[in-house]
Symmetry: C2
Subunit: 431 residues, 2 copies
């Protein structure tokens, strides 16, 4: 029914916040999104767009009329506007930025001077800052009459050239005498963020600081804006969701992206996978003579590949996470590799015996059982070593291990599994 | 060198925060953790333990001397203490709780009266609360002289029986006259958290509220504590990391858990996988006659299973994420299933033709090529339908789709792939 042009929203929609609206929009088709858009509270338009996941936002904005986009852009904070502009074509960006009020325009230009990996681009510039020359009584008057409540317990202090001087606590303001100058109360916080730092590093800094927000400062010491713990949370969410998507070999974010676009994106992964599958087939093809001789080998060979695949995936998952969280480093890498090898050896020995016995009851061929058990153990050991080596190598090459790791690993466990299993069978049965 | 009992830490360790310390401890063996522990700033001990990931914390605490554990427990906030107690055996918990000061003891008992899935257990009780009968001047005096800076811009107000009345903003305090009663300034925030809500729901509420923290209130309206955006971030991180671990079929969190423990945990996944691998082998075994006749089938059959597996995994990843984020619901489920089917049909048709042609160049057998291409297309279509159906069914059964989804899906794509490919080959070649 949301797809109908005329409808009234139930009352409970009135209390939705921007995040909840964003989830609703993500769960709709573009046509439904367009029909629902006029019904949102207009003061939330920029927040809703910036809270939507990147891919869904992009598809929606590609069909939202220019007038609606402008309305959102003109009412948003600089950080929200940048998120919206990121999803628009360059030509539209230039046109929209030129239409902004001069003050906002220079804010946005500052943001856009940083790349979409850098925290400077998304720092919130609309922060209440105090001039170091102000007096305590002026600031207190200002704080009292502030229309919007300031989050947090301290205020940013800058000098006349916008250089960041530090912050002043509300406690100190209350304890100071009315005529004291702010310059006497200002202190530097323990942590500042460099505007060129990566979003993930900045998010970790905010998280570790236990503060609501940290100041973002450029190379000349100028105050660029604030990066808040809420911003950090969005960054972490995006990071984890993309890691999970990579593990599932899919890059779609918008559930309702057009069919052809989704098909194209996934075709790439399928194509890469086909290459590795043909490689495995090629290895099997080398040993086709023994398959004709002993058909049990063809029946059992997927077991070797599959158990190796799982073993490798387990080690790979741990080492990718260890690299991402910083728990895994050059000092403990050797130890972990040894540990993973031992784990694979224990499980390999146990499951090799189990599989060997089961296969014997099935085919009553002790040679097949022994070859199967040995190939399984060897493949699981190779899988654990590869699970450690592949992410390390990819990391050194500057490739995100989460993207390519599992494809490469599966190729290794398939090829090694089939090669060892069918190769040794060829030696034994066709000698 | 950290394993040596006597050593001095480099100076830069002095500026580490609890989160950074926690990461260091996670990256060490238990023996190294024990050696490093005496060197940490003692005021951070409880924070470091509570910031550590659950599994690593558990292993470390199982070897940390009781005296060190007590020291941490006696200096922690209630929320930190609960995180530490969660990792200790029940007997130790009872003994430690009895040793606490009466006030802390009742706080901890309140926390422990909620399950480890409920937000009430982890709400921060050490929040500065104001009695509704207090006067503005008393509160301002208190705020000015506060030893520790209060995060945020509002204060919690309760009545004599600890019932939650709402909050009072610092702006309103500054604007009020000194003799006004707090009761006149208090207002209810837009969102409160029920102490029995799940951690994930509570985290979403805090995130959506754009506030630094929300009040947690029990069924009788009593104020239990605050749940902050920092807490929410930890919950989200734990959630995403466990989802990723499930996708990699591994449940270890501590990289440095004992070898035997890790091996046991992973053996479960390997065992489940072995069952599904044997099921696939069983299907192949049904058709062993045709494999002997046409060896190309044995060579090519992994391609059908593998391409189906990837297709299914792509749809599965999207639908699991859609369910987790609330983007996927009963209204749009049908649409998404249709879309995923179309995507699989497009890619299936394209790759089936490609694979058919390649197989023809390899084996020069048009029957093999046609059978291969048809089986590939059918398996990819089944995979996309299964990728939608499996998470929905698991969700209805109350099982987390991320845990069992990919194993079930791989079983389906293997069994269907081998059955269709070898079954149709049997009909054609052995007719």
């Amino acid at each position: 029914t949301l797809a109908q042009p005329d409808f009234a929203l139930p009352d409970e929609y009135g209390s939705l916040n921007a995040l909840q609206w964003a989830t609703i929009f993500e769960s709709l088709l573009n046509s439904q999104r367009l029909a629902l858009w006029p019904h949102i509270p207009s003061e939330l338009s920029s927040s809703i767009l910036s809270e939507m996941r990147e891919d869904a936002r992009g598809h929606f904005l590609s069909e939202l009329p220019q007038a609606n986009i402008e309305e959102a852009v003109f009412s948003g904070t600089n950080a929200e506007v940048v998120e919206i502009l990121d999803a628009l074509p360059q030509k539209t960006v230039v046109r929209l930025v030129n239409k902004l009020a001069p003050g906002t325009q220079s804010q946005i230009e500052t943001s856009l001077s940083y790349s979409d990996e850098q925290v400077g681009r998304y720092a919130d510039q609309e922060v209440y800052t105090i001039a170091s020359t102000a007096l305590v009584r002026d600031v207190l008057r200002e704080v009292k009459s502030a229309e919007h409540l300031h989050e947090g317990n301290s205020y940013v202090v800058t000098d006349a050239s916008a250089k960041y001087l530090g912050e002043v606590n509300i406690n100190d303001l209350l304890n100071a005498s009315a005529k004291q100058s702010i310059a006497e109360l200002v202190h530097l916080p323990e942590t500042q963020i460099d505007a060129e730092q990566s979003l993930l590093d900045a998010s970790n800094l905010v998280r570790g600081s236990q503060k609501a927000a940290l100041p973002v400062v450029d190379g000349h010491g100028r105050f660029i804006g604030q990066f808040s713990i809420q911003d950090a949370l969005s960054v972490f969410q995006e990071y984890y969701e993309s890691q999970m998507a990579h593990l599932g070999q899919v890059s779609d974010e918008d559930l309702f992206a057009p069919v052809v676009l989704s098909a194209k994106r996934r075709a790439i992964w399928l194509g890469i996978n086909l290459l590795t599958a043909f490689l495995a087939s090629f290895v099997i093809g080398i040993f086709d003579a023994v398959l004709v001789e002993v058909v049990a080998l063809a029946v059992l060979m997927p077991i070797v590949a599959s158990m190796g695949g799982i073993t490798g995936s387990q080690t790979l998952t741990l080492s990718i996470r260890g690299l991402a969280t910083g728990q895994l480093n050059s000092v403990n890498y050797q130890y972990l590799r040894r540990k993973e090898f031992l784990v694979a050896a224990l499980n390999g020995a146990f499951w090799a015996v189990m599989v060997g016995i089961l296969a014997y009851f099935w085919f009553s061929d002790v040679f097949v059982s022994v070859i199967l058990a040995s190939a399984l153990l060897i493949n699981m050991l190779v899988a654990s070593l590869s699970g450690m080596a592949v992410p390390k190598v990819l990391d050194k090459l500057g490739v995100d291990p989460a993207i390519a790791g599992s494809v490469i690993l599966t190729t290794i466990t398939d090829v090694v599994g089939f090669f060892v299993f069918l190769g040794s069978a060829t030696i034994i049965f066709l000698r």
